[in-house]
Each structure stands twice: as C-alpha cells, then as structure tokens.
Symmetry: C2
C-alpha cells in the first residue's frame, strides 16, 4: 500500500499547487452526493487522540446566510478602516468572499468538550482540538479541488455572529466558514497575488538547531 508512484506524486504536487482560495463561484448547484463524499473523506483527517472533533454545519437558509453576509460587511468595513487611506482603497477593491454566490456553505466548529479521544494529547496543548478541525477542513478542501470544486475560507467574520446565525451549541467554537461551489476560473496563482496585495514566497524559513 506504499505504492503511490511517481505519476501520482506529480499530480498530487499539481493539486497542492493549483488549490486556491476561491471567491468567484458559479451559482449552479453541487450534487449533494459529491459533498457527502467529501465530508466522508474529511472524517479521515488526523485528530488528536482520534477525537474527530469537527462539526460541519450546512448553512442553507436565506435567513442564516443573510446574517453571515451582514457580519462580513461589518467586519470588512472595520478592517478597511484600520488601514491608511491608500491601503484602504487597495483593500476595498479586493474580492474576499463568495458568500452571495456559493451554493454550498459550511460553518465548521470544534466540539470543545467532546469525550472522544479521552483527552489524549490535549492536556498541555488544548488547541490541538481546533487544529484537528483545521486538518479536516484542509482534507475537504484538497479533495474538493481534485473534483474541480472550489472552496473559499472566510475569516472576516465575527465568530459570535456565526455561532448565533446557525444556533450552534455553546461548547462549540467556530474554526472556519467555508464557501463551496464550482469556480468561475482556475489558476495556480493566489487571488491576492494577482490583485497585487501580497506575493507568494518560496521556502526560505528553515532553521537548523545545532
């Protein structure tokens, strides 16, 4: 079962390089069976103590989605206001989310009090529970991309707003809000790089401890 050959590894490399944070979606629906398959795969993500603390909430109602859009608009305006005039103008031009277009949307939480895993591995680093949710999101993301589906992770939101909008239990903490749908385009260049906001750099940060 170690037989991931060079052809597979080359294509995995392409997948990693072509995965994008998508903000421009077509509005046509996504087959629920495909979404279910991706969620099933995400359930194989690594988790501390095998706790599988991820909770994907599908946000479908117009009412809940309107509350998310409203939270984004408020947080995005506050973010713009924090920049100097010139940068604020640049920031305002960025397309940072596809909340109005993406046909499938998830609020993804960490169940902070799950007994699954029996606490193993999170005594000194309780944040491992939330990190486990991130690996599930990332697993969903790359599997979605392999199926041609785009995913956008929106963090310009007030977690309390999202919590309230979807009626999540108190002991769940928001880790990610995901927009999912067919992308308008595909590219190997990050959207923020194309827009001139920031550039991707190669690995130059490795340090050795001698």
């Amino acid at each position: 079962m170690d037989a991931f050959d060079n052809d597979f590894r080359d294509r995995l490399e392409l997948l990693i390089k072509w995965r994008r944070d998508v903000r421009r979606f077509r509005t046509d629906p996504v087959d629920p069976a495909l979404v279910a398959q991706l969620l099933e795969l995400a359930d194989h993500a690594p988790s501390v103590g095998l706790s599988q603390p991820w909770r994907f909430v599908s946000v479908d109602s117009a009412r809940a989605r309107a509350r998310i859009v409203s939270s984004f608009e408020r947080c995005n305006q506050a973010a713009a206001d924090d920049y100097s005039d010139e940068t604020a103008d640049e920031y305002a031009k960025l397309k940072l989310e596809g909340l109005r277009e993406a046909p499938v949307q998830f609020a993804v939480f960490a169940d902070e009090t799950t007994e699954k895993g029996r606490g193993l591995g999170r005594r000194t680093m309780p944040e491992m529970l939330r990190y486990s949710v991130v690996t599930a999101v990332h697993t969903f993301w790359i599997a979605a991309r392999a199926a041609g589906l785009g995913v956008g992770w929106v963090s310009i939101l007030d977690p309390d707003d999202v919590h309230a909008a979807v009626g999540a239990p108190e002991n769940w903490s928001l880790v990610a809000y995901l927009c999912v749908g067919w992308p308008l385009e595909s590219s190997d260049t990050p959207e923020l790089e194309k827009a001139g906001w920031e550039q991707r750099q190669g690995a130059g940060t490795l340090r050795r401890v001698h």
Copy 2:
C-alpha cells in the same frame, strides 16, 4: 488543469485513508533532498492573507532532542496521573511518539508578528495565523505519506520547553512538533484504534440550518 481524473481521485482517497500518525520509525536516514522537496510543497499550503506564517525548525542536536524527550516524559507522566488507575494503566501502554527514533524532527511555529499578508483576514480571528501553519503541516504530512515517509505529530509537550530547546524567537508560537522517518509498518487503521483506546467513527455530525 481541472483534469484530476477518477484514477487520481481514487488514489487520493487511498492516501487520505492510509495517512497515519506514525510513532514507530526505522532509524535510517532520510534523503535531505526529499525533505526539502516536501517543505517546498508545504509552502504552497493555504494561508490567511497569503501570510505564509509557518516556520519549520529542524531539530538536529542531541542536546535539543534530549530536552524534547525530557519535556515529553514529564508531560506524559502528568497526563497518566490525571486518569483513573485502570485508564492510567491502559494509557501507559500506548506508544505515543517516536522521539528517540525519528531521524528527522521539526518544531513548527507560527510567526505571530509577520507583516506578510498585511493583517488581512486575521482581525476578528487572529488564530487564522496558527491555522495556516496547521495546513502547512498537513500538506507536508500527506506529501510525505505519498513518498512512503511517516510523520507523527507530538502534542504531549510543554510548548515553553520546545521554545527554549530550539531557541525560537519570542514572537513565534509553537503549533506542532513533528517526527519524520521511514515507518516500521503501514496500516489503514489508526494506532489508537488498534490499541483499543478509541475508535474512528464515520461522518455523522453534519447538521443543516433551515
């Protein structure tokens, strides 16, 4: 470039299902060129605002490694002491890390004060910086597995000990400690499941908000 065909997707599914948290390593060395290639790929992970805040520190010295082992032993004993007698016995039998065997080890930090990304996307959710580091670790992990390499994420450590052991800058926070090497065996069943500590469950957590 959307041509990730069914054969590729089937093998990606296998990769996700066969990825393991490895704690039993062979001690023979890993080609540094392979490790460099995996780190280069990890640099393509998603990051908030294209901040790329991950800092991989290669922990090579016997002295630094001894400090890590010592931190693990102390934290692991404290964790065992927290369980009732019966569970503590069960816990004590688990092999939870390969710190003495793994030829390659990384302490992975988030640079909390990086200016890269210009703060975009982390005003209301500053934890996005650490979550970005998690996606880099996960990218490294699955690419390593595709190359037949095992990765184990050790969280039974005091982050302050790791910080001191590798002499990390003050503004870096520890996200992960990774053991990397050729695994003694491969399996599609999590080690904690084989040991009877916890069982993997299928996705049953999807909720819909109507």
